[in-house]
């Protein structure tokens, strides 16, 4: 089943064209990776999908589960099942992780016309899902990301993912700033959340995350477009040849 379809997407920020005609289709249950050098529009794509203000969509369309995604507010997109694991998660003063998740989960349940979870079930669920990424229960009672280390923040993002059970999870450079142990924990967490009912879009600069998260498809983004698509072997090839290979004019498509 087709979950996400992006047709000829063009996006600018303040008169500068960043994404210059991008096409991508993701079916339910698939894991796609997007690789590419810095500044080619990978994070812009993630932000536009999540609905972050400040981007001008100049052309093209994004269809998510048959609906026009670009017409939805960011919170509606989240409730429809789009999740973004942030590259730089923010700290929220005065709000505990537990309370934040409870509000988020119940907002999403309300949107899907489900009853709110009762306090006991919710606590159980939180502890279980926090354990997936090795987050101690004490992190639930701390303010969201406040005083968390870089690695803890990234693990907390995957914990949120586990709680909100999205249809499409976008991981924006989740591996950046992680040491190898933290990377394994995050990757294991993500792997345990893979399901035929969930798709992933993994944005990364390096191939190393893909050693742990085996993608079904790998796309290479360069200068605002997807210039190469293939399977996980493409990632390895890219790793050995480097991004300069792309700059030297190899713009061959799929």
């Amino acid at each position: 089943m087709e979950l996400l379809k992006i047709n000829n997407l063009k996006v600018g920020i303040e008169d500068k064209l960043i994404i210059k005609g991008l096409n991508l289709t993701i079916n339910l249950g698939e894991v796609h990776a997007i690789m590419g050098p810095n500044g080619t529009g990978k994070s812009t794509l993630a932000n536009v999908l999540a609905g972050k203000p400040g981007y001008d969509v100049l052309e093209g369309e994004i269809i998510f589960m048959g609906k026009n995604l670009l017409e939805m507010e960011p919170e509606e997109r989240a409730r429809e099942g789009i999740f973004l694991a942030f590259q730089y998660p923010v700290e929220i003063p005065g709000v505990t992780n537990a309370n934040f998740m409870k509000t988020a989960v119940n907002e999403i349940r309300k949107y899907r016309q489900l009853e709110p979870l009762d306090a006991f079930d919710f606590l159980q669920l939180m502890k279980e899902r926090a354990a997936l990424v090795g987050l101690d229960a004490s992190y639930l009672q701390r303010n969201v990301n406040e005083g968390f280390s870089g690695g803890e923040k990234k693990r907390n993002e995957i914990f949120h993912l586990a709680m909100l059970e999205p249809k499409l999870a976008i991981l924006d450079e989740t591996d950046s700033g992680l040491d190898i142990d933290a990377l394994k924990i995050v990757a294991n967490g993500v792997n345990s959340l893979r399901s035929p009912e969930r798709s992933f879009l993994v944005i990364t600069h390096y191939q190393r995350l893909l050693n742990y998260l085996t993608p079904d498809f790998v796309h290479v983004m360069y200068d605002g477009r997807i210039v190469l698509s293939g399977t996980k072997e493409l990632a390895l090839e890219l790793e050995s040849k480097g991004y300069d290979w792309l700059r030297n004019g190899n713009n061959g498509s799929k």
Binding site: F86, I92, E107, I108
Partner: protein, 481 residues
């Protein structure tokens, strides 16, 4: 005839006939002079000592200048252009049903979850509901009387308990204290009085809401609360529902007196009209609130949630005179649009081992300005005194301001004074992060603001706290695009 002249003629005419003892008259003409004060005094049927006191206050006030040290700006107030006495509105002038009440107010009532009956009372609708409240109030009053607790309007107290009033009125806030206190002393015509006798623990929260004829906010309110030895009382002022008033200037005085081993807890939720989005027409609230812990081991605790008024100038304070006495101040002040708040507290440590605690949470949104101003003063004799102050500010958007002005004076070497302050901001990044987790902007702000204010909200009586929590969100509506 031009308006000014007409007005002049009417006022002079009144004067000619001497409105010192008019019977039919419902209001005194605009302006303030000794005759107006005599008029108020007569209207209220007060004993002679009150006239003398009011006149002294007035003469002193005339020698004073309006203070301008606070971080607030407003067009000058013309004190001769204000009515200082008007009888309560007659029933027929009141709205006949909620249909006649401003829909904006009704919308807010709904958001706060106020029951229909209460809405009618709050909006001053002239229906049976008012009678209901009278009967509730009567049952309430009987119960208090059994315990010897006096809870009545200040006017009744002046007439029926002149000894108590004469002893304590102005003992904490003398009319010489400041410009607005002097003005209030000269002209006040409404307010509450509480006396809790020795060893009595008042079994219920006392609230002006249950006081008959208290549905309208007085312009110059005077409140006096006396807790005799070993007694306890919790008093609630105001309500979460929005209060509109034709009077722009409000200058209240509240005095609390706690004798040996007594405790007074005073909670305020203030939600007066803050003006429109451009800041026009809001209420100026210049209040003097002060309590004295007169006896040993006594305690006074102020809790305030300030969300209304165009200008708030307010520093609920404690004079810790009795040894081992305790003063507390918990405050949430929210400003939105063009609101200005300059609020805080004074803790004056005079007795030995006196302790005080200040927790202030200022929240500024839109183009508003929010200032904390506090004084902790420890006298030479206050050996072993301790103070802990915490002042936190939360900014929403980038056009508002939060300011902290702490003053600390310590005059002995074995006291401990601690001060902590933080500033946080609800940025667009935080809001987007919340949105991405399925939470709308308004809910996100509510969540953050309530988390930020929790420590103070916890100090409020249960039912009040729930309403206040909703009020915080409603007050910040529209603070982000």
């Amino acid at each position: 005839m031009p308006n000014d002249e007409l007005l002049k003629e009417i006022t002079e005419q009144e004067y000619k006939y001497g409105f010192v003892s008019p019977i039919e008259q419902e209001f005194a003409p605009k302006g303030l002079n000794e005759d107006i004060i005599r008029f108020i005094w007569e209207k209220k049927k007060e004993p002679p000592f009150m006239l003398e006191w009011r006149l002294k206050a007035f003469r002193y006030w005339k020698s004073m200048q309006e203070p301008h040290w606070a971080k607030v700006e407003y067009t000058p107030i013309d004190y001769q252009d204000i009515y200082y006495y008007a009888a309560p509105k007659k029933l027929k002038e009141k709205p006949k049903s909620l249909d006649e009440v401003d829909p904006e107010i009704l919308r807010t009532f709904e958001k706060l979850g106020i029951p229909l009956r209460e809405q009618e009372i709050l909006a001053g609708v002239a229906v049976d509901a008012v009678l209901d409240s009278v009967s509730v109030a009567t049952t309430f009053k009987e119960k208090l009387e059994e315990l010897g607790i006096i809870f009545c309007s200040i006017n009744e107290a002046i007439r029926n308990h002149p000894d108590l009033v004469q002893k304590y009125l102005g003992s904490v806030v003398p009319y010489t204290d400041n410009f607005f206190a002097a003005l209030n002393s000269a002209v006040f015509s409404d307010g509450s009085f509480v006396y809790v006798p020795k060893g009595v623990r008042c079994p219920m929260e006392l609230s002006t809401y249950f006081r008959i004829n208290a549905s309208e906010t007085g312009q110059f309110e005077r409140t006096l609360i006396i807790a005799d030895e070993g007694s306890y009382v919790s008093y609630l002022e105001g309500c979460t529902a929005p209060i509109r008033d034709e009077n722009q200037l409000h200058a209240a005085v509240v005095e609390l007196i706690a004798l040996k081993d007594a405790e007074i807890k005073y909670s305020t939720v203030q939600n007066w009209y803050p003006g429109d989005k451009e800041g026009r027409g809001g209420i100026y609230n210049f209040v003097t609130k002060r309590g004295i812990c007169l006896g040993e081991n006594s305690k006074i605790s102020w809790t305030q949630v300030e969300t209304g008024s165009a200008i708030t100038w307010k520093y609920p304070s404690c004079i810790l005179k009795g040894d081992n006495s305790v003063g507390e101040f918990y405050s949430i002040a929210i400003t939105n649009n063009y609101q200005q708040a300059d609020t805080g507290t004074k803790m004056i440590h005079l007795g030995k081992n006196t302790r005080s605690r200040i927790v202030s949470k200022g929240i500024a949104a839109s183009r508003s300005n929010n200032s904390y101003r506090g004084l902790v003063q420890i006298s030479k004799k206050a050996v072993g005194a301790r103070n802990y102050s915490q002042c936190d500010s939360l900014l929403i958007g980038d056009k508002c301001g939060a300011h902290t002005f702490p003053y600390i004076e310590v005059n002995n070497s074995n006291s401990i004074v601690e001060h902590e302050a933080t500033t946080s901001k609800i940025s667009d990044e935080i809001l987007f992060y919340c949105n991405q987790r399925g939470i709308s902007k308004e809910d996100a702000i509510g969540l953050i603001v309530n988390g930020f204010s929790r420590e103070v909200l916890n100090q409020l009586p249960m039912e009040f706290a729930v309403e206040a929590q909703k009020l915080l969100s409603v007050s910040l509506e529209g603070s982000v695009g």
